[in-house]
């Protein structure tokens, strides 16, 4: 509750607002003064607030809100350099187990991407990837969302590898392609709006503001195969993937993804591929990524539509499913988490910049 914006106001109640975030809290205080309050800690997010200069006046406190949230700003995004390697990567190590999603979990990952690659990339560009920290192979505790430019598909894979050999390795992968308007592929074709030409900086398909596309992948907990995944392009449902692979199923139960091993997450590069760390970054111009959210539930179609917000990133902390929002990065000048407390390292030529 804020200080009233007009009429008679009380010094004691202003103190209650400052200390209790509640103008009407009725706590008792002594030795308080306008000068002492105005020169103390003031919430700069409040549109109305006193200045610290003399003379101090009651009217300066009209409308002051001690727990006012900061206004939502979406002016910047993170730019992934086309430079290869960890020296140019965007990455974090999650030691908190917050984002240790497994094949048995429901989760959703959503982000905005502005394609910077050309139609001669001819390889994968990794959007978001998590794997076991210090892994020997990309396949360990893997969740990855990547675009395979060579064949115009978004591919989403999760799985695990605990040792060499098929007895220790399994994965499930869903693939959506966008250039065929027939049969099971028609949903992806309709969702993306790319036509028969592959996705690139010169053909971005359906976009929201500033030429960004919101990509959302959701997973249900009801099964552990590739058909547990759904894809949304903006708010357009591409549905369950028309192409699904479930490999090494016999080893899944014996080698489940760990819920306790630390994860290395990367945006815009591959995390790891053999000995080639943080590559597959695109070409031409830098690809940019905006608001990234991770949720511990399978977002519904209507919740994805709400998150899309008619094409402009919204304040995800105000989303109807915000109680399931595990992590949220806005890239407004740094890689710090708005929710979740995990901060990205943004190295070398990568940077937060204007959208």
């Amino acid at each position: 509750m804020a200080v009233p914006s007009s009429g008679a106001i009380s010094l004691l109640k202003i103190k209650n607002e400052v200390d209790e975030d509640n103008y009407n809290a009725n706590e008792s205080y002594s030795n308080i003064s306008l000068a002492g309050l105005a020169t103390g800690t003031i919430n700069a997010n409040s549109e109305s607030k006193p200045n610290s200069s003399t003379p101090h006046a009651f009217s300066e406190w009209y409308g002051y809100d001690n727990d006012a949230a900061s206004a939502f700003v979406d002016a910047k995004a993170v730019r992934k350099s086309t430079g290869q390697g960890t020296a140019n990567a965007i990455y974090l190590v999650d030691s908190s187990d917050l984002l240790n999603f497994t094949e048995s979990d429901a989760f959703s990952i959503s982000f905005w991407v502005k394609a910077g690659w050309s139609n001669t990339l001819n390889t994968n560009i990794h959007f978001v990837i998590g794997l076991r920290n210090n892994a020997n192979s990309q396949a360990e505790n893997l969740i990855k969302i990547f675009y395979d430019e060579a064949i115009n598909r978004i591919r989403v894979r999760f799985g695990n590898k605990t040792n060499s050999g098929t007895a220790y390795t399994w994965y499930s992968e869903a693939q959506w392609l966008f250039h065929s308007n027939s049969g099971a592929y028609a949903a992806g074709y309709a969702a993306a709006g790319l036509g028969t030409t592959y996705w690139s900086a010169s053909n971005r398909g359906y976009v929201g503001a500033d030429d960004y596309t919101m990509i959302t992948v959701t997973k249900t907990a009801s099964n552990t195969n590739a058909n547990s995944l759904k894809l949304y392009w903006n708010a357009n449902a591409a549905g369950v993937a028309p192409l699904q692979t479930n490999s090494g199923g016999n080893s899944k139960a014996a080698n489940p993804m760990s819920s306790t091993e630390d994860r290395l997450w990367s945006v815009g590069s591959n995390g790891k591929y053999g000995s080639n760390d943080q590559k597959k970054v695109g070409n031409s111009t830098a690809t940019r990524y905006n608001d990234l959210t991770m949720w511990d539930k399978e977002l519904t179609a209507s919740e994805v539509t709400s998150l899309y917000n008619s094409g402009s990133p919204m304040n995800a902390t105000t989303h109807s499913a915000s109680s399931n929002l595990e992590a949220y990065w806005q890239w407004e000048g740094n890689g710090n988490g708005t929710v979740g407390g995990l901060n990205w390292t943004i190295a070398g030529g990568s940077s937060t910049n204007t959208k």
Binding site: T82, W117, L121, N122, A139, D148, I151, G274, K279
Partner: protein, 86 residues
């Protein structure tokens, strides 16, 4: 699994149902394939998946537009679909 570089024309003649991985060269004239078929008409045959991958890194400008190569794990992932990916 066999790993080859073949011409676009030869690729039209191979048994697509046996092809596990296919990548076009950047100039679209060649095909890098992983297949269970023995292909006689080939530009290059690789002894194993590692030499195949290494070749694409060494000759990146022919195959991968970001200066890298085709990773071993990409070759393993496969995913080629006849007609759709041709």
């Amino acid at each position: 699994m066999n790993y080859y570089i073949i011409t676009k024309e030869t690729f039209e003649l191979v048994d697509k149902s046996q092809v596990h991985f296919m990548r076009k060269s950047l100039d679209k004239t060649k095909r890098l394939i992983a297949t269970t078929e023995d292909v006689v008409e080939r530009d290059r045959k690789f002894n194993n998946i590692d030499t195949c991958s290494n070749y694409t890194f060494t000759n990146s400008s022919d195959w991968v537009g970001d200066g890298t190569g085709v990773e071993v794990e990409e070759l393993e992932e496969g995913g080629y679909i006849p007609v759709i990916d041709d």
